[in-house]
């Protein structure tokens, strides 16, 4: 018999964007489903363009007014404002995803950050791309350039390179991994490149798999359309478990977030007053990476994935899990963020055999050597 709790979720995009914002909205719903005393408030599309009249402060004020005790501000673009708001409402718990203020130590006591090891699903995404590709050309649809987007692109590349060299040696050619940045997290017509057209170009220029690194689903749309027209094209959407739905037959898989469990922890701990500030890089469930109750990110294989590659993907996933879970599952263990690794300009990131420290990954200064595309 615990007392009621109201929590707010502030989304930067529409709740049905099939990507980033939707995954947070669903996390909110997950809490409601697993804690009968919890009720969600939410506010979608809080950005200067869609809602010029409202700031985070306005929205939070309204939410607190309606009784919210925990508020999730679900975009790095809320990172700064969250601090200010948190000072104004010290009695409320704020979680900013995916900020790092807490890490830097310049966040008020009632602010927490968390992020998840999306890098791992990305490795899997990259691997399946390499396994499925017949042309050896993979396109990566990048958002804007910052450390987060760089490390996600780099992870995809590492996965792809590994599986290409390990399982596709017979192709007898080098993998071509190209990154095109559109300029923002989603398509702002006229201000950014049009992801639809960028994806089309990848395919026009011989790529047969496009990995999406943006909040929205243009890549899978285009792949699906081309597939329906008879060409062999795949995409790997990003962010939301439902990412494949727009074109299942062309979907190799989706690297998605599953914030629900983390949200639930926060709400519960706030409810019983046990919440404490922290900066968490949330773990995945290595035994069952797609477990909705235990794994905070996952890689869901798409119906479009050719089954012949499944075996290789399993093997790679197993080896990865073996390393990450730090317990022996009787398979060789692989960790791809491991030397020898060079940055795009050739400077060494990690020497032979040594692993790249998490924080160096977090603050990736450049793309990696071997990737085609701008680093800034």
């Amino acid at each position: 018999a615990q007392d009621e709790i109201i929590y707010g979720v502030v989304l930067v995009g529409p709740r049905n964007d099939r990507g980033w914002s939707q995954s947070h909205f669903e996390a909110g719903q997950y809490v409601e489903a697993n804690n009968e005393n919890a009720t969600m408030l939410f506010f979608e599309s809080l950005n200067e363009a869609d809602t010029p009249e409202a700031t985070l402060m306005d929205v939070v004020t309204e939410m607190v007014d309606s009784g919210a005790e925990v508020i999730f501000t679900t975009s790095a673009s809320f990172e700064q404002d969250t601090n200010g708001v948190a000072e104004a409402f010290p009695e409320v718990v704020f979680i900013n995803i995916t900020g790092s203020n807490v890490l830097h130590g310049d966040a008020p006591f009632n602010v927490g950050n968390f992020n998840t090891l999306m890098e791992v699903p990305r490795l899997l995404a990259g691997c399946s791309a390499a396994l499925a590709s017949e042309t050896g050309k993979i396109g990566y649809l990048g958002a804007l350039i910052d450390p987060e987007t760089r490390r996600l692109a780099a992870s995809s590349y590492l996965g792809a390179r590994h599986c290409w060299n390990t399982y596709r040696a017979d192709m007898g050619m080098d993998l071509e991994f190209t990154v095109t940045w559109i300029g923002f997290w989603f398509h702002i017509p006229g201000f950014t490149l049009d992801p639809t057209e960028v994806a089309n170009e990848f395919f026009d220029n011989g790529a047969d798999v496009v990995i999406s690194g943006i909040d929205t689903t243009e890549a899978i749309q285009v792949a699906g359309r081309r597939a329906s027209e008879g060409s062999r094209t795949f995409a790997i959407p990003y962010g939301n478990a439902g990412g494949c739905d727009e074109a299942p037959e062309a979907c190799l898989g989706v690297a998605y977030y599953n914030w629900g469990p983390a949200y639930l922890d926060v709400v519960n701990s706030a409810q019983d007053g046990s919440w404490e500030q922290s900066w968490d890089w949330l773990a995945l469930d290595w035994m069952d990476i797609n477990n909705p109750d235990t794994s905070t990110a996952g890689y869901l294989r798409g119906t479009g994935m050719p089954e012949e590659i499944a075996a290789n993907l399993d093997e790679f996933q197993g080896a990865l899990a073996d390393y990450m879970s730090a317990q022996d599952m009787g398979v060789e263990s692989i960790y791809l963020w491991e030397g020898p690794l060079n940055l795009q300009d050739g400077t060494e990131l990690a020497a032979e055999g040594e692993a790249v420290p998490l924080l160096d990954i977090w603050f990736s200064p450049q793309l990696l050597e071997g990737m085609i595309g701008a680093s800034e």
Partner: protein, 347 residues
């Protein structure tokens, strides 16, 4: 010529298609002496209407449904028809307010631009980011095998072919047929048209609505193929303005209009290609900041309008030999229809 390049050209032609259809529609409207400034909004709202119609027909009202209740063709046809009707409706508002109420066409058009965009987002929210029927590719028998031309122009879908037909058709209509003369006349000198027994305002209704309907087709073309589905912000945001500019750049002549549209599409392709490979000038490649590159099409828009306003295009006429001049005159003439934006009244 390598296949990648042909693919890129084909994509340019494809990506330009909605622009072509929309600008042809606007050309029809403006040739009749009326400006439909609402293009940007019309495209967005018709894309919305077209997609929802197609989706509902093929999948039913349930937005989570994944299996079809009717054929994709049925949905597509229904979608395009609905898009046309909505486009025609918006245009009708402009025609009425201009012809009956003598309101400033630019004012009404602008209000509609904003209103339609918001309306589209409001009514379309449930249907954003869900799959719907997509206009399939349909290579033209025989023609598709032509060297070079085939892969670029004839391995596309019906919408693209429609754009070809529209361009050539409108040219023939305007410059070769008698009703086409009346069409031009009501935009150039309505009094003269009236004196020759043409019912100026009735024809203006017809052409404004027709033009609007084509804008609708363009909107549908976006959501049913070129930028499939609905998204927020709408993926064709801004293209309406470019289409309007293309009409001017095109000197209200279908041939120049289509060139303009292809030019813009090509430019977009180029600006993301430069991001990957840099710009090769005289051997050495210049790197560009990839964000700033996104400004290129807009610079281009200004430049093209400069070309027109400075009379540069028309000066080409003077360089040509006499007989060719006569042929090219209608193409290179950049004057807007004389009576554009004005109302016409008898007594």
């Amino acid at each position: 010529m390598n296949v990648e390049f042909l693919n890129t050209l084909a994509s340019v032609v494809a990506n330009a298609t909605p622009l072509v259809i929309a600008s042809i529609g606007e050309t029809i409207t403006e040739r009749a002496g009326v400006i439909n400034l609402s293009l940007n909004g019309s495209l967005i709202v018709t894309a919305m209407a077209g997609f929802i119609a197609a989706r509902v027909i093929s999948f039913g009202v349930d937005v989570d449904a994944i299996d079809m209740i009717a054929s994709a063709e049925a949905g597509l046809i229904g979608g395009v028809v609905v898009a046309m009707l909505v486009g025609a409706l918006v245009a009708l508002i402009i025609a009425l307010s201009s012809i009956e109420l003598r309101l400033d066409q630019v004012t009404v058009g602008f209000i509609l631009t904003l209103l339609m965009a918001d309306l589209a987002q409001f009514l379309g929210q449930e249907y954003t980011r869900i799959p719907g029927p997509v206009v399939p590719k349909w290579p033209v028998p025989l023609l598709q095998d032509l060297p070079l031309l085939g892969p670029v122009f004839f391995q596309q879908n019906v919408l693209v072919y429609l754009s070809y037909v529209l361009v050539i058709g409108l040219w023939f209509w305007l410059f070769r047929t008698r009703p086409g003369m009346a069409h031009r006349a009501i935009g150039e000198r309505p009094e003269a048209a009236y004196a020759r027994g043409t019912n100026v305002n009735r024809l203006r209704y017809v052409y404004v609505v027709l033009g609007g309907a084509l804008v609708g087709v363009a909107g549908g073309a976006y959501s049913l193929h070129f930028k499939p589905g609905l998204s927020n912000p709408p993926a064709m945001q801004g293209d309406g303005w470019i289409a309007l500019a293309i009409v001017i750049f095109g000197g209200w002549h279908p041939f120049r209009v289509v060139v303009g549209a292809w030019l813009f599409a090509a430019l977009r392709a180029v600006s993301s290609d430069i991001q990957k490979n840099g710009l090769a000038v005289l051997g050495q490649t210049i790197e560009f900041n990839f964000v700033l590159l996104n400004g290129l099409p807009w610079l281009m828009l200004i430049v093209t309008l400069l070309l027109v306003s400075s009379g540069a295009i028309e000066r080409l006429l003077l360089l040509l030999p006499g007989p060719v001049q006569r042929r090219m005159r209608s193409v290179l003439r950049s004057d807007p229809p004389r009576a554009i934006g004005t109302t016409f009244e008898v007594d």
